[in-house]
Amino acid sequence: MEKILCATRGGDASFLTQDKAIQLALERGGQLVFLYVVDTHFLDKTSEPIVVDVEGEISKLGEFLLVMAQERAQKQGVEATTILREGQVRDELALVIAEEDITLVVIGKPAGNSSVFELSALESFAAELEQETNVKTVLV
């Protein structure tokens, strides 16, 4: 049975990616897994007092966003599971692919300002991921 992994955040661009992943799951009759990666490296260059559990707070945010993604899938008739990880997006994607026996990876193309990657970089990343994990990776 196909197992589809969709890396997601929130925002309009992620909703498009989520919808495409849900559609693929419906077409292929596969399981759908949403992944959110908690990355706090944006704080690395700030030297204001960081005395709170930032990872913890962003993890809660990530859980909320994953619940939103699950609801979207449910509304379209797909039961999705969610995974929350901490670290770098590239590394965690590869790890989850191996651990969860993923058969298809869905990554969203840059849409406006909201993507982390430029398209060429994203295509290159998708190709590298596919080569490394032997799992088909599609940009939607």
Partner: protein, 586 residues
């Protein structure tokens, strides 16, 4: 009666004799010991710069008839005497000469980075007692010259400023790089060529404001403990429950909570805690998160500007000039309140489309998730920390009465909390953000470097010339230039560099002794950071968290909201300051 010629002559002789004796007595009384031998001359004086600040280690030499003289310093002979930390010199010159032989006595005062001064002293200026004479020079002002150390120190500071402002390097690494470079130039080149001497290590240490460092340390401990309770997230969720019928009401309450908490706790930390939950609330209300988070960011900067402990620039200003918690609150709180009113009105107008849309039914799953994120996780800890925080705030209010430095108040509160809560101390010490404390220490050392070489003085003189001694012009300049700078560059190093300039201007401009220029700097540095998302640290962290939720803001997206609100708050605050301190005065 006619006097006979012989009697006339005798009378004349007696008269001359009396006159001669009189002159001789007079000369003795005047101390004109032109025939006197003196063994020692003591020369006293002080050396200052054009700002009136004492110059330490200025060298004083004496030349008599083109012959350099030697002093007795600590029972040893020396060619020169240096001024102490107060700029004062007292020099003993051993002589064995007639005072009348002391012609062409020249005193020469020199220090690297300053124009050498020479003063000719005549023997009439001596005050003598027995065989010792004293020469009192008074205050000697040396004028700056812009030497290599000046340009190097300024260049290093600007580079570090740029590295921090444009996020090229971590702030602490950047300031480390800056101070180490200054030391490198000082010791490797300045050791043999005084024109390259920027600042020595021991002198640099003296510039660290430990009141700021320990105040931050104490408040960090409070924040670290309170943040574990979940109180901020719980407050936000209660706001959602109460104001669910009106999106604007929810936003308004969250803005006020953020502003209020930022006034007494570090504003960046408040944003780190409020932003994730605010994003969730916005999504649950089906509005774009920026409509809540950006006004919260602006509120945190405005609220933080109200008190000594709300924002690092205020802490730096207060500590440098000796302004206490209450005095700063009394002067800055009205400005913050006015600015918050402007923020609320402008937010309502700028985001009206978001706030006016009808609320869709929020899914129960999302509400449940929201509630799960917002629980009070440790009620006993919350009670203890709130109680002690209240006590600490009361101590801040009465610190002036007991002459307690704010840092001591913060340490008292933090220590009491640690004793009562007894957390795992290793974990607690890990929670304290040591990189931030080291950043402040190295920053102060760097500012000391540019102060030693005269960069601050140079800036102060330019500003003084531009302001022309006009208090109104100086006030408006400081507010708006500080605001513009804070919008673009890091406001903490900017404030640390500009506060000595402001101190100088306060001593020079008539009417500035009501501290108006300090309020102007606090206002500009605090509110100016609202204009762009790089303007201050709460902005950067909140925008970063928004990005993690998939809502990436471009520079222009933030500025479209930030700039009008900043201009609005600055305008109203400028008018308030001018009315309160210059036009009406109350």
């Amino acid at each position: 009666m006619r006097i006979r010629p012989t009697r006339r002559a005798i009378f004349f002789l007696i008269l001359c004799f009396v006159l001669l004796i009189g002159l001789g007595l007079n000369d003795a009384a005047a101390g004109n010991t032109s025939q006197q031998f003196i063994n020692q001359i003591t020369i006293l004086g002080s050396v200052i710069n054009s700002q009136g600040m004492p110059i330490e280690n200025a060298e004083m030499r004496v030349v008599i008839d083109k012959t350099p003289q030697q002093f007795i310093v600590n029972n040893e002979k020396s060619d020169s005497v240096c001024t102490d930390a107060s700029g004062i010199f007292i020099a003993d010159l051993n002589l064995d000469e007639e005072i009348s032989g002391l012609t062409n006595l020249t005193i020469r005062v020199a220090k690297s980075g300053y124009k050498t001064r020479q003063i000719r002293v005549d023997s009439e200026q001596f005050t003598c007692e027995a065989d010792t004479c004293y020469i009192r020079i008074g205050r000697l002002t040396l004028q700056r010259v812009l030497n290599q150390a000046f340009f190097l120190a300024a260049g290093i500071f600007i580079v570090v400023f740029g590295l921090i402002s444009f996020n090229v390097l971590h702030e602490t690494i950047a300031t480390f790089l800056g101070i180490v470079t200054m030391f490198g130039v000082t010791y490797f080149i300045g050791g043999s060529n005084s024109d390259y001497w920027i600042i020595g290590f021991h002198k640099a240490i003296q510039y660290i404001d430990f009141n700021v460092v320990f105040l931050l340390l104490g408040m960090m401990i409070f924040m670290a403990i309170m943040s574990q309770t979940g109180v901020f997230q719980w407050l936000a969720f209660q706001t959602f429950k109460i104001g669910r019928g009106s999106t604007f009401m929810v936003a308004l309450i969250l803005i006020l909570i953020t502003g209020l908490t930022s006034s007494v706790l570090n504003d960046t930390t408040v944003m780190l805690l409020m932003t994730p939950i605010s994003i969730q609330i916005a999504l649950a209300l089906n509005i774009r998160p920026e409509a809540i988070v950006i006004p919260e960011i602006l509120a945190s900067n405005i609220g933080g500007a109200a008190t000594l402990i709300g924002t690092p620039p205020n802490t730096i200003i207060g500590s440098y000039v000796g302004i206490g918690f209450t005095e700063m609150l009394v002067n800055m709180l009205p400005i913050s309140i006015l600015s918050m009113v402007v923020l609320v009105f402008m937010t309502r107008w700028l985001y009206k489309d978001h706030y006016n849309q009808e609320n869709q039914v929020t899914s129960e799953a999302l509400v449940a998730q929201l509630e799960k994120s917002s629980k009070i996780t440790n009620r006993p800890l919350l009670v203890k920390s709130l109680l002690l925080f209240t006590v600490t705030l009361i101590l801040f209010f009465i610190e002036d009465y007991f002459h307690i430095p704010p840092a001591v108040v913060a340490l008292i509160g933090a220590t009491a909390l640690l004793l009562w809560v007894q957390p795992n101390i290793r974990e607690m010490l890990r929670e304290v953000d040591w990189t931030t404390l080291v950043f402040f220490m190295t920053l102060f050392m760097m500012v000391g470097g540019i102060q030693e070489v005269g960069v601050i003085q140079w800036i102060a003189e330019i500003v003084q010339q531009v302001a022309g001694g006009n208090l109104l012009l100086a006030t408006v300049l400081i507010i708006w230039v500080s605001a513009a700078a804070s919008a673009i560059v890091a406001n903490i190093p900017f404030t640390a560099a500009i506060i000595p300039v402001t101190v100088f201007l306060t001593t020079q401009i008539p009417g500035a002794d009501n501290n108006i220029l300090y309020w102007a700097l606090a206002l500009g540095a605090g509110l100016g950071g609202n204009a762009t998302y790089i303007g201050s640290a709460p902005n950067i962290v909140a925008v970063g968290i928004l990005d993690r939720a998939g809502y990436r803001l471009k520079f222009a997206d933030f500025s479209r909201i930030g700039v009008p609100i900043t201009v609005g708050t600055l305008l109203i605050s400028t008018i308030w300051i001018l009315v309160r301190y210059i036009w009406v005065g109350f």
